[in-house]
């Protein structure tokens, strides 16, 4: 015992929650019920009988699906435990997931997103009944027009990559409208642009030309000049790029592409450091997109739903996916009459909950607030870079001495050469401190990569703590590499043997596939073995009103 209690060490001695939780199919017992659907009234049953029983055998399901059977408490407890075994922004210092802009999402905005006046709206309601939600959509479009400088913005794409798709599709429609569709069969992108800038154009039928970085890490302007031609449909370029450098010659890139008749498409997924500083319009772009779940604070939701927003110049507005949201001065309405539109990229109008959140977030900040977001994110990033580069074995390749915008792609190549510890192993050890860690998209031009993006949400103390974690891990790599190599030790689980995941004899995407491949049989509980007994004889024998098929088992 020490008294007074000693100060806490840095990094802290945390242990992630570890419930050793079974897979849900191993839980529960036959007959247990988590929730009952609304009972059918006797009057309806008397009137129509059993329509399910009247179905032909070829389409009537003979036995119900073999789902687990759990009481409500047991479902809730299982998922609450899994939630505890997950680190999100709310509990971690989520700066280790570069390019993702893992900022804080204010809880009040979640309240709006969960309001019944949002959740209980049907997308095909009469416009007079949805004036509030249309107003939010229309106003958010105005905000994003101003932030990007573009003339119209659609909120329909459900993600950043879907917005890239929408933009590529509009590029294709534009060239087709000028009878240059078949001639312009190439799209140019850069290696440090998000991979969807290469993948989406391929789906749209384009050959993809990738410009590599020059010695300083900036995309090579001469390579672009060599690639641009009458075949060029568009340049799709992220800026700042995923390594955190702002391309100072971006307007020249646009000009090169315009000179050969191509369009310029700005991927603004990394806009968090440039809000109110510089815009797509001034750089000459024809199209751009934002990720509302990055820059505009909507939560990442474990991998979606996100939300994308595509902006275009007036010349391209006729190609936008429809409907657009319009305002006649007193009433908001949807304009479906868009003959040149590329059509739908998504059912209905977009990820409404995130549109509401992003609207509220901007309304809580205003112009000065957005600029402060950007400046703080950039300051945080350059401060954290200073701290991290004090760790021997870690470097920030390219453009030595230059400032970065909102993120940095670092390299552990030096540490790996000295210790044999690689970036993947550092990632596993990072889990022992409950921090995320993201490498890089492929190819790994930066060797042993890790990409870090602090955003505006974190304090200097948070950043110091984050840097201390990696200083400690680097020290362990030198003094006790086995500790790092066998990590994690204090996470929810221990080291995963991933070999089974690339072998079709062993991979299992579902519990049923796992049981089949391992020769295992389902545990009795929750496996529906009792499905054909008298309590649930078949779905066509439905319960009468007020009669529960099986009493909820405790």
């Amino acid at each position: 015992m020490t008294w007074p209690i000693e100060p806490k060490p840095l990094p802290r001695r945390m242990h992630q929650a570890s419930w050793d939780e079974p897979v849900i199919f191993e839980l529960g017992q036959p007959g247990a019920r988590g929730v009952l659907p609304p009972a059918l009234e006797p009057g309806i049953r008397e009137a129509v009988g059993h329509p399910v029983a009247a179905l032909p055998d070829t389409i009537r399901r003979p036995v119900p699906p073999k789902l687990p059977e759990l009481s409500q408490l047991h479902v809730l407890r299982h998922y609450d435990r899994l939630a505890q075994e997950t680190v999100g922004v709310d509990t971690g210092i989520a700066v280790g997931m570069g390019t993702c802009t893992m900022k804080y999402s204010p809880k009040v905005n979640d309240r709006f997103a969960r309001d019944p006046r949002v959740t209980e709206l049907h997308p095909l309601q009469d416009e007079d009944t949805v004036q509030g939600i249309l107003e939010i959509m229309w106003r958010l479009e105005q905000f994003l027009k101003e932030i990007s400088g573009m003339d119209r913005v659609t909120l329909q794409p459900p993600s950043g990559s879907a917005a890239i798709w929408a933009n590529v599709s509009m590029v294709r429609a534009y060239h087709a409208s000028r009878s240059e569709g078949s001639q312009r069969d190439q799209v140019i992108t850069t290696l440090f642009s998000h991979p969807s800038n290469a993948a989406a154009p391929r789906v749209a039928g384009y050959d993809v030309v990738t410009i590599y970085p020059d010695a300083d890490g900036y995309p090579d302007l001469n390579a672009l000049r060599a690639a641009a031609s009458g075949r060029t449909a568009a340049l799709l370029i992220t800026n700042p790029e995923d390594i955190g450098l702002f391309n100072p010659r971006i307007a020249e890139f646009v000009q090169v592409v315009h000179d050969v008749g191509g369009l310029a498409v700005y991927d603004q997924a990394n806009a968090n450091g440039i809000l109110g500083i510089t815009r797509a319009r001034e750089a000459g772009f024809d199209l751009c997109h934002f990720n509302l779940h990055k820059t505009f604070s909507t939560p990442h939701a474990g991998g979606g739903p996100g939300a994308g927003a595509s902006g275009v110049t007036a010349e391209l507005a006729r190609f936008l996916p429809g409907p657009t949201v319009e305002f006649d001065g007193s009433r908001y309405y949807l304009d479906h009459d868009r003959p040149d539109s590329i059509g739908k990229v998504r059912p209905f109008y977009g990820t409404t909950a995130n549109i509401v959140r992003a609207y509220a977030w901007i309304m809580s900040l205003g112009a000065a607030g957005l600029r402060e977001v950007a400046e703080t994110a950039v300051l945080n990033n350059n401060y954290l870079m200073l701290r991290l580069l004090q760790i021997a074995g870690l470097t920030a390749p390219f453009a030595p001495g230059k400032r970065r915008i909102e993120q940095v792609r670092y390299s552990w190549a030096g540490l790996a050469a000295q210790t044999g510890i690689h970036t993947e192993q550092i990632a596993s050890r990072a889990a022992d401190f409950a921090v995320h860690y993201w490498f890089s998209h492929h190819p790994w031009v930066v060797p042993e990569p890790v990409t870090i993006e602090p955003t505006e949400s974190y304090s200097m103390a948070d950043l110091d703590e984050f840097a201390a974690i990696f200083a400690a891990i680097a020290e362990e790599a030198r003094t006790n590499p086995e500790l790092v190599r066998t990590a994690p030790h204090r996470s929810t689980i221990h080291q995963v043997d991933e070999r089974v995941l690339d072998d079709d004899a062993t991979w299992a995407l579902t519990w049923r596939a796992y049981l089949r491949k391992t020769g295992g049989s389902a545990p009795d509980a929750g496996q529906g073995a009792a499905r054909e007994d008298e309590t649930v004889a078949g779905p066509w024998v439905a319960p009468e009103a007020g009669q529960v098929v099986a009493v909820e088992a405790g």
Partner: protein
């Protein structure tokens, strides 16, 4: 912090941005509500202008419907850990991996298929990718698609496939409303990669001839992709049972609020073999052992062979942020409902829909075109003989607090003056009786 990094101003950090590209003025945005209470007042004021399906009586469906959302679904998807996580690694987000693996597993039981993806954006994207998978599996470049899918899906498919796949729409029989198998045969040849139809159809019709459709398609060497409403699968055979190679659909009915059409997630399922799996663009989570006996781990299956993260333009389409939280939510829903719940909810929807068809069809001048067919959740109502337009009827219903069915005159004009009505487990007998009474009144 500035001093630590040796800068005197923030502006120095932006040295790479040329002056000509700088915005030399503040953004033109409204004055903010920096205090939370003021923001709440502002947003509440706007939302107050909405009227909801909870406060009115809605019969709108067409791919998004008001179903029962168990409170526990909202409880779990509101957990900050899930809500604010992203796509991290197997350790710090172990719980999220397990929850999504369990989602895949429960969907696998519902669909009787061994492979299910981490969801894509929505049912439209799932259908479009399902058809692209069919093209990759066969090396062919035409797809046949039922004409009775939403017009918006037709639009999506053409946009998404047109670069190298021709989409041909196959008519339905005017008398039965079912897919026209003769028309299907006429178009089915060795250029056809895949065929897509929905069962139940967009118009709510249940097709019992799935095995016959599959036989013809497979004889031509094509892939059968079936779109299915997952909430029907407590009572209806899953597509795999009648020979579908790929099943797709939207998760919205499984515990996800409509959110003005924003609450969507797309599932894709198939047999579990390398040939199929390598064609998925999506993330696919799998179960794996750890260094500790008895401990479950999870990871990504065949990530490097197919995803755009690994292969850029040489990938299968692309991967990105999609609908993971709705996967967790749908998993919670299926776990709460269990086999009996899914059977009961399907039975309840079919019975209510039949009751509504009978009541509405009994109104003078109103006709239910395909009344003889088995229906699930949705049905067509023909107002042609009433001399009134659907728009006109819907306006009159709206004045009575009823949201009438989706007006089909724009997207399926060949059906005449028709609307698509949707009935779910949320409708009571009194709701349906009220619709019938008010409709009769309006049409009198």
């Amino acid at each position: 912090m500035l001093a630590a990094i040796g800068a005197s101003t923030i502006a120095e950090l932006y040295a790479d941005i040329p002056d000509a590209l700088r915005l030399h003025r503040p953004l033109d945005l409204p004055q903010p509500f920096t205090a939370e209470a003021d923001l709440v007042r502002h947003v509440d004021g706007i939302l107050a202008r909405n009227r909801t399906t909870a406060d009115n009586l809605s019969f709108l469906g067409a791919g998004c419907a008001r179903h029962f959302v168990p409170v526990v679904c909202d409880e779990i998807n509101s957990r900050g850990e899930f809500l604010t996580a992203y796509s991290g690694h197997a350790y710090e987000e172990h719980g999220r991996f397990q929850a999504i693996f369990e989602y895949q597993s429960m969907m696998g039981e519902l669909l009787e298929m061994d492979a299910v993806n981490v969801p894509t954006y929505d049912g439209f994207q799932a259908a479009a990718t399902g058809l692209r998978m069919a093209a990759r599996l066969t090396g062919r470049n035409r797809v046949l698609v039922s004409a009775h899918v939403p017009a918006d899906l037709r639009s999506k498919l053409v946009d998404y496939l047109e670069s190298d796949i021709e989409t041909v729409f196959i008519a339905h029989e005017a008398s039965t409303g079912l897919l026209d198998l003769e028309a299907l045969d006429r178009h089915l040849d060795e250029s056809v990669a895949g065929v897509y139809f929905e069962n139940p159809s967009y118009l709510g019709l249940i097709d019992h001839r799935g095995a016959e459709v599959a036989r013809r398609i497979h004889a031509a060497g094509a892939v059968l992709v079936v779109g299915v409403d997952p909430i029907s699968l407590g009572v209806l055979q899953p597509p795999a049972a009648y020979g579908a190679d790929i099943a797709t659909g939207d998760l919205q009915a499984l515990g996800i609020h409509m959110q003005y059409g924003g609450g969507l997630g797309g599932f894709i399922a198939s047999a579990d073999d390398r040939r199929h799996l390598v064609e998925y663009p999506s993330r696919l989570y799998g179960l794996a052992p750890t260094s500790v006996s008895g401990e479950y781990g999870f990871g990504e299956v065949m990530f490097d062979d197919r995803t755009s993260f690994a292969k850029r333009e040489n990938a299968r389409e692309w991967t990105g942020t999609a609908a993971a939280l709705w996967a967790i939510t749908a998993g919670v829903y299926l776990a709460l409902m269990g086999p009996a719940g899914m059977a009961e909810v399907g039975d309840g929807i079919m019975a209510r829909a039949r009751y509504a068809m009978d009541r509405v069809g009994a109104i003078p001048g109103v006709r239910i075109p395909f009344a003889a067919q088995h229906h699930f959740k949705e049905f067509v109502v023909d107002f042609g003989a009433t001399g009134r337009t659907v728009a006109d009827v819907n306006r009159a219903l709206l004045a009575r607090g009823i949201f009438g069915g989706r007006d089909l005159t724009g997207e399926l004009p060949e059906l005449g003056e028709t609307a698509l009505y949707c009935v779910t487990e949320m409708h009571t007998q009194a709701d349906i009786d009220r619709l019938a009474t008010d409709l009769e009144d309006v049409l009198a």
